[in-house]
């Protein structure tokens, strides 16, 4: 029982800033140590899913508990946190998670990508290039990229152990045979450091190339599935493809209606019931920064047309 003796000392520096009755950043230190050990192993074995003793969090499973546990275990009072969902800082889920850390850790939060030391995300990688010393934490619903091919953990674990990824390629190739192209549009599997096939989480494949040789550390947390995995900075991340069917990303014939960007991921917004729609940046901070610099988009809906993405 002496184990807790060190922890019995109250963390005075943090006490005033955080939620009464709870530890800094909610998790107890024992849990944080367990997650920290798992995180180090994840970093040491890029792309491998490390099982961990995921805890029940005060937010529902499936709503970012894995990312929250990872963030809670790494965050300190000097960190600046950014939380996005669908690329935006102002969606209710992002707001809610940011509130959680403001309440339990008292850390500074920001919407500005370049000001953040930790970015927790669901479904997007920011458009602004991430830097060394930044950490991006992905919320992951299903960490196993082979799950749709083989639902059994006992089997997929063996497949990873033997780097037996033939079925994955067969699956993608059948897709090509049937549709003429790979129809997977998000959660597009990648291979990390020429070894593990990894789920990038449900980011659009548009974001996949950003993962390759990224200067920032990428951590992935799946709370319900109890897995943590990682990609260290400057690590090769390759989207699976074939010589005759190279990997390609989405593109739009439109540009952002607000900031005029033609290189960002666009969300489609339906503006009336007569088929009018407009496209705006999914990354709300990227869009706002561009507008602040004087960039302007067409602003009005155009007739919808889709660009051939051959």
């Amino acid at each position: 029982m002496t184990a807790i003796s060190g922890e019995q000392k109250k963390s005075s520096r943090l006490k005033e800033k955080t939620l009464d009755g709870y530890n800094f950043a909610y998790l107890d230190d024992q849990t944080k140590r367990m997650i920290r050990r798992a995180t180090l192993k994840a970093v040491a074995i890029p792309g491998y899913q490390v099982p961990f003793g995921s805890r029940e969090m005060p937010l529902p499973f499936g709503w970012g508990t894995g990312g929250i546990q990872v963030t809670a275990s790494i965050i300190g009072i000097d960190d600046t946190l950014k939380v996005i969902d669908q690329g935006a800082d102002d969606t209710t889920n992002a707001v809610n998670i940011r509130r959680f850390f403001a309440k339990t850790a008292g850390v500074e939060t920001t919407e500005n990508t370049s000001d953040a030391s930790i970015i927790q995300t669901r479904h997007r990688i920011p458009e602004a290039k991430l830097k060394s010393d930044q950490i991006i934490v992905y919320q992951v619903p299903i960490p196993e990229p082979l799950r749709w091919i083989e639902p059994r953990e006992e089997e997929t674990r063996k497949m990873h152990a033997l780097t037996e990824y033939g079925v994955m390629h067969v699956g993608l190739y059948e897709n090509i045979a049937h549709f003429g192209k790979v129809t997977t549009s998000y959660n597009y599997p990648v291979q990390v450091n020429d070894h593990y096939v990894m789920s990038p989480s449900p980011i659009p494949k548009f974001d996949n190339p950003k993962m390759d040789e990224m200067p920032a550390l990428q951590l992935f947390g799946a709370g319900r599935e109890k897995r943590i995995y990682a990609v260290p900075p400057y690590t090769k991340v390759k989207s699976l493809d074939f010589e005759d069917h190279p990997f390609e990303i989405e593109s739009w014939s439109e540009c952002c209606a607000l900031c005029g960007s033609s290189s960002s991921f666009l969300d489609e917004v339906i503006t009336d019931d007569k088929g009018s729609r407009m496209f705006v940046c999914s990354d709300s901070n990227f869009c706002a920064n561009r507008r602040a610099k004087g960039h302007k988009g067409p602003g009005l809906p155009r007739k919808f047309e889709i660009k051939d993405i051959e």
Partner: protein
């Protein structure tokens, strides 16, 4: 003109105020007290404690009140609280033979040492709405029995054990048991991991799967060897004392299922066990658990596996309602980035196919882009 959704903070706060108002309901009606919930909704309290994996009637009652009677939500509240509690040590295994019995029945023997004790049960009630409960009723007070119940009531499985008819209970290993609340489940799972998982598993899920085995989806031929409910002492052995001290008393329901087993190349025909245990009074759950514990032993006993209830990974990975409820409902969260990706793909695919169809069908009657 398009306006990005802003003010998430205010919206969340307003939603939560509304929720609190709905929870309280009509203010002319007196507010529920935790004592009322603990005493009069005791079966709900029991279920929340069992699946919340925390034996605390007050907290369970509070969770039920806060969750507006939504039992799965209450279980979630209790779990999220439980996970923040420090751990002082492991208790000694409880001894249900020393249970202060309130109910004990066996379906396998007409009479047995200790007797059949019906206790409080819905079993033989006629399910007729009792309109006398509409107004506060004067419930009858049960009379106390004149006969004493055996202090140590032998378990039916022990009676069979004497004759060697039932498999031996495997000795508890000396190692610290696997803890599903602290570790990620591994497959194949140990029996202790399986029992822990089932004990906190969703009652409805366990019930449906147990039922499926009775309808031929992995039949295990169960008999309710014994069901007992009552109070047992909980002991811990403090490191500095070295001997057990009782730290409290809990109500549990235990079910020992006895199942036919024709034997295998190495094992003669005998009965096999399926074990169920829950906090509080919950026979439906304890029995379902007993059936599933046994059906999940199919692989170990060399039986053909052809039904969901025999598939360990299927059952144990989907039994937790906190996980299931969260993941099903996470579909309420925005997915418009993924959906946008899909839109781009589907439109491209449609464009490709309509072009090729056009070549074949020169009438061009097909609607090219529905969206246009």
């Amino acid at each position: 003109m398009y306006v990005a959704v802003k003010g998430g903070d205010a919206a969340i706060e307003n939603s939560q105020t509304l929720l609190a108002e709905e929870r309280r309901g009509d203010r002319r009606v007196p507010e529920l007290t935790l004592d009322q919930i603990k005493n009069q909704l005791s079966i709900s309290v029991d279920r929340v404690m069992a699946e919340g994996s925390l034996y605390d009637r007050d907290l369970a009652a509070l969770a039920i009140k806060q969750a507006r009677g939504d039992i799965v939500e209450a279980i979630f509240l209790l779990r999220a609280y439980r996970t923040t509690l420090p751990r002082f040590g492991n208790t000694h295994p409880i001894d249900t033979a020393k249970m202060q019995i309130r109910r004990r029945i066996s379906a396998t023997f007409k009479d047995l040492p200790g007797g059949q004790i019906l206790g409080p049960s819905f079993d033989y009630t006629h399910r007729l709405l009792d309109f006398s409960l509409v107004e506060n009723s004067d419930s009858p007070v049960a009379e106390e029995a004149s006969e004493n119940i055996l202090a140590e009531m032998p378990r039916v499985t022990e009676l069979l054990d004497d004759e060697g008819l039932i498999e031996k209970e495997i000795d508890v290993n000396e190692q610290e048991p696997f803890d599903v609340t602290r570790n990620s489940l591994k497959f194949p799972a140990s029996r202790e991991a399986r029992l822990q998982n089932l004990a906190r598993g969703d009652e409805g899920f366990l019930l449906a799967l147990a039922y499926s085995t009775q309808r031929g989806w992995g039949k295990t031929h169960p008999f309710a060897g014994e069901i007992r409910m009552g109070e047992v002492g909980v002991e811990i052995i403090p490191e500095e004392l070295g001997f057990p001290i009782e730290v409290g008393e809990i109500t549990v329901t235990e079910c020992q299922m006895v199942n036919q087993f024709k034997g295998s190349a190495t094992i003669p025909a005998q009965f096999t066990r399926g074990y169920g245990l829950t906090f509080g009074h919950n026979e439906r759950k304890a029995m379902s658990m007993g059936i599933l514990d046994r059906s999940l032993r199919s692989k170990e006993l060399g039986e053909a596996i052809n039904a969901p209830a025999q598939d360990e990974e299927f059952v144990l990975s989907h039994s937790c309602n906190v996980e299931a409820s969260g993941f099903v409902q996470h579909l309420k969260l925005p997915h418009y980035v993924d959906f946008q990706s899909e839109l781009v793909t589907v439109r491209a695919l449609r464009k490709a196919t309509t072009f090729s169809e056009k070549k074949e069908d020169s009438t061009g009657s097909k609607n090219v882009e529905g969206a246009e």
